[in-house]
Symmetry: C2
């Protein structure tokens, strides 16, 4: 029936890959500037992060990393993501689920999030009109905006279908 399901969603919207070289350079500069060192673990974690779907949690990233080197510790992933955040390569995101998630700090494609409360699918969206309205509201209150968080929670098309089906079944449809 429902075909194969995409399941994935989250990641890059197929179009073009982000400019990883730019991020590698950013990280490299930061490390040189502070006398930090390049280690096997860091390189592995960083590259794994670059390949991973956006909005990955520490746990998830650790799992990926351990497929390549099972001896890497949680703390190292944690500290490396902290490092990436500091040098502007990653953004830290806290959705309501208690986990901290990370995504590539791709300024060039600003987006917010649409999240399915049934299956957890995360879709990114952009809406310049909203951005503009935000600025106007901020100005009205005398604020200068730094960042914002705009998340919409609902049920995706797939899950609506699923729910309708089971509701129908329950009703003896």
């Amino acid at each position: 029936m429902g075909g194969g399901l995409k399941a994935k969603a989250a990641h890059g919207d197929s179009t073009e890959r982000p400019d990883l070289e730019h991020f590698r350079a950013l990280l490299h500069d930061h490390m040189v500037k502070r006398g930090l060192r390049s280690t096997d673990q860091r390189r592995l974690i960083v590259e794994t992060f670059f390949e991973a779907p956006n909005h990955i949690s520490i746990e998830e990233l650790l799992a990926e990393v351990r497929q390549k080197d099972s001896r890497v510790g949680y703390a190292t992933v944690y500290r490396t993501l902290k490092l990436l955040t500091e040098c502007g390569v990653a953004f830290e995101r806290k959705f309501g689920d208690g986990l901290t998630r990370y995504e590539l700090a791709d300024e060039s494609s600003h987006h917010d999030h649409l999240i399915c409360v049934e299956c957890g699918k995360i879709i990114e969206f952009e809406e310049p009109k909203i951005e503009e309205l935000q600025e106007r509201i901020a100005a009205r209150h005398g604020f200068v905006l730094k960042t914002h968080k705009h998340e919409m929670y609902g049920t995706c098309a797939d899950c609506q279908a699923k729910l309708t089906r089971s509701a129908g079944a329950r009703r003896g449809n």
Copy 2:
């Protein structure tokens, strides 16, 4: 322009108090329906919550409550707020600071939040145009929206002034 600034913000926008009777009834019904009991602590906590500024944390509410009865425990406040959330009297909010905050579930005045990253001031705002755009975006992706979280972080007018002043001083102004 400018004038005196309202400063307070956060709480009821001066206009009218929310309809507390409505919320008391909601809670009462819920408790009767489930055979829950009305105790001194619950009444105290609930009324204190009603009087407290919006976006209060458990710790803060507990402090208020303890001014009236120092023997109330953290867990009771915690459980009472859970109860209020369940029966639709309060909303749970998680801003990025790791705390859970609660506000009156005043549907009639839907709003989002503008937060000063310097002083923590929280201002509520409403913008129907954004709400409408949200629905449109959700529809475009096949979603049916349930809730959303829209927070904007920046520097409020007061703090901008403060920052400018100290920056100037530092520069030998």
